[in-house]
Amino acid sequence: MISNKPFLLRRLFAVSLLLILLLIVTMFMGISIGSTGNDLKTVFQLLSGGKVVDPMRAAIIWEIRFPRVILAALVGATLSLGGLVFQVLLRNPLAEPYILGISGGSAVGAIIGILMGLSCFPGVGFTAFAGSVAALLLIILMSSGQSILKKDSLLLSGVMINAFCSAIIMFLISMTQDAKLHNIIFWLMGDLSMSDTRQVVILAATLLPCFLILFLLSHSMNLLLMGKEIAQTMGVNIKYVTMILLVVTSFMVSATVSHCGLLGFVGLVIPHMLRLTLGPDNRVLVPSCVLGGGAYMILCDLLARVLPEYGEIPVGVITAMIGAPLFIFLLKRSRQ
């Protein structure tokens, strides 16, 4: 693995370049098209630095669509990366943040925040993070000591916590007055529409370092996949790396969940798609998950905005509706 470093670098460069191009194209589409029609020409004018005729269109593009596109990219990147990390940690192809109950925990926290009438940020963000940390602590406690390394015990405690969180969510919904029910249900279905520039900047500032940490750990992730004995002999402190991966990932996921609710399936589809096309090397997969997941989420959000005549389809519905068939198709082809 060390001997083919130049090859790896070339490969990383080629893949990243391709995905960056894809991301730029989707971002361009994302800011050009919206519920009040498409502004391809205005966007070209804006990007080429020319004078824009209508300042209102410019405001719509920069202050409504642009933060939303960036938010979608960040969320897509976080969820796919989260999926990748959990798949490596648990060596289970079905793992994603939801399976471990991290999303569930932050959802419970966020709903409690909404019910308490807190503002979306930082109020609900904080309760969501508290919820996910509580879920994480419970998971670690349940599978404490050496058994944290056993994938089954981690997965099982995750499933249990997830089930428990769903029950709490259902309980809270059933007790809720109609006026707040709307908020919670929209939020549970995943909603990217509430993004303003300041919030997106804060979110980006919290997420980008996490991406970097995971990229730096990607070689250890490769070794972890080879089994704990091999990893240990190759000098990986398994417990330490596992803890860092868990904490960083749950922090990222709770930050996005508090912003835009539960968006399922992204963490499953993107890592698998990329693994099927690019191979299992995590040093390539981590950056490509960030770029590819971002592009995928921007496209899904674009569809969510454009498809219905009035209002929006919850973007969570779109990610699942596109993701599931695509995933099945790729899986089938790879087996042939």
Binding site: T36, M56, D178
Partner: protein, 345 residues
């Protein structure tokens, strides 16, 4: 509320300026003199003019946030809103507000409304900006509104904040009872320069309310009313709602009064309450109504069923804070005390 004192003083300044033959360019904040004669002959008067210029400049700086034709008002949440004194592009962020603007006869100002703004029928053809709980910010901004009227219950707070970041003035209303609805109508009338229409509308509402009140004053018995607004689960209304207020005004006794605004009930609890008048309204319309009515009709022990006093009503008359609440009140009056209103006619 109303024209602020500053606006009046602004008018006085403009008069002063014309008296002194001064040229004023508000756009560039430039003050200069058009009268150049006798310059140098009366240095004292020049000093005076300079002083006057300075004073005027200072006053204009003090008024800087209020450009010509603007005024500052306080909305129902106590927020300061600076808006045009003659808004021409109004976007209504709730069906009830659309109704009020139409009732005031100011629909020509209305450039956008929300998805379920369906009354009067003309409102359906207005450009839509999402539903009132899920507003489409982009569509609102694209309409270039010079005033948005929002409602506290329903409109997401964040959308209001973001609209303001686009320099769109948002006036928020929060009517909690019938009296507050009349105040809201008067305030919106004032915002849209329809003060007289608003006063007429409110007077008409008040006299109709008083007619029901005086009819109800004679009653000796207040029948127990169960007002079902949700089908599954069964939901009724607590004390702090429009419907409770209307039931009481119409001479009924709301069996589900209490601190919870929209309490839920099991079928068993409803039977135990033994309502004498049973009224069903729901967001879901059409056949669902009939089915629910049929279901309740099995319980012959319930006084309302025994006396065939189970009714279906149009929910829009009861759940929107508009002038039509008075229609709702009259409907309720007829259903709860048919004997009184017959007497009146």
């Amino acid at each position: 509320m109303g024209l602020s004192l500053e606006m009046k003083s602004c008018g006085i300044i403009l008069k002063l300026l014309t008296v002194h033959g001064l040229k004023l360019e508000i756009g560039n904040w430039k003050l200069g003199r058009t009268v150049q004669k006798h310059e140098g002959q009366f240095p004292i008067s020049m000093f005076h003019e300079c002083l006057l210029n300075l004073i005027i400049l200072l006053m204009l700086v003090a008024l800087a946030p209020l450009t010509a034709g603007a005024r500052q008002v306080t909305d129902q949440l106590g927020r300061q809103v600076v808006l045009s004194d003659d808004p021409q592009r109004v976007v209504s962020l709730a069906p009830s507000i659309t109704e009020i603007i139409f009732a005031l006869g100011e629909e020509r100002r209305l450039k956008g409304a929300t998805r379920f703004s369906d009354f009067p029928p003309e409102a359906i053809s207005l450009p839509k900006v999402g539903s009132y709980v899920q507003l489409d910010l982009e569509r609102i901004v694209a309409l270039k509104p010079d005033l948005c009227i929002a409602i506290k219950d329903g409109n997401p707070r964040q959308t209001v904040v973001r609209l303001e970041s686009f320099d769109v003035p948002v006036y928020v209303v929060d009517p909690r009872n019938l009296e507050a609805v009349t105040e809201t109508i008067i305030e919106i009338g004032d915002l849209l320069n329809a003060v007289e229409n608003a006063a007429d509308l409110v007077n008409n509402m008040r006299s109709r309310i008083n007619r029901v009140k005086s009819a109800v004053a004679k009653i000796s018995h207040r029948p127990g009313v169960f007002f079902q607004i949700g089908i599954s689960p069964i939901v009724s209304v607590g004390t702090n709602t429009f419907i409770h207020e209307l039931i009481v005004l119409a001479g009924g006794n709301n069996l589900t009064k209490g601190p919870i605004p929209y309490p839920r009930f099991s079928r068993e609890q409803v039977l135990f309450l033994a309502p004498e008048v049973f009224i069903i309204t729901s967001m879901a319309r059409g056949e669902v109504f009939e089915r629910v009515k049929l279901e309740w009709s099995r319980w012959h022990e319930m006084p309302a069923i025994k006396n065939r006093r189970i009714f279906l009503v149009d929910s829009n008359l009861f759940d929107r804070p508009t002038p039509r609440l008075v229609d709702g009140l009259e409907v309720l009056g007829q259903l709860i005390h048919p004997e009184l209103l017959e007497e009146q006619q």
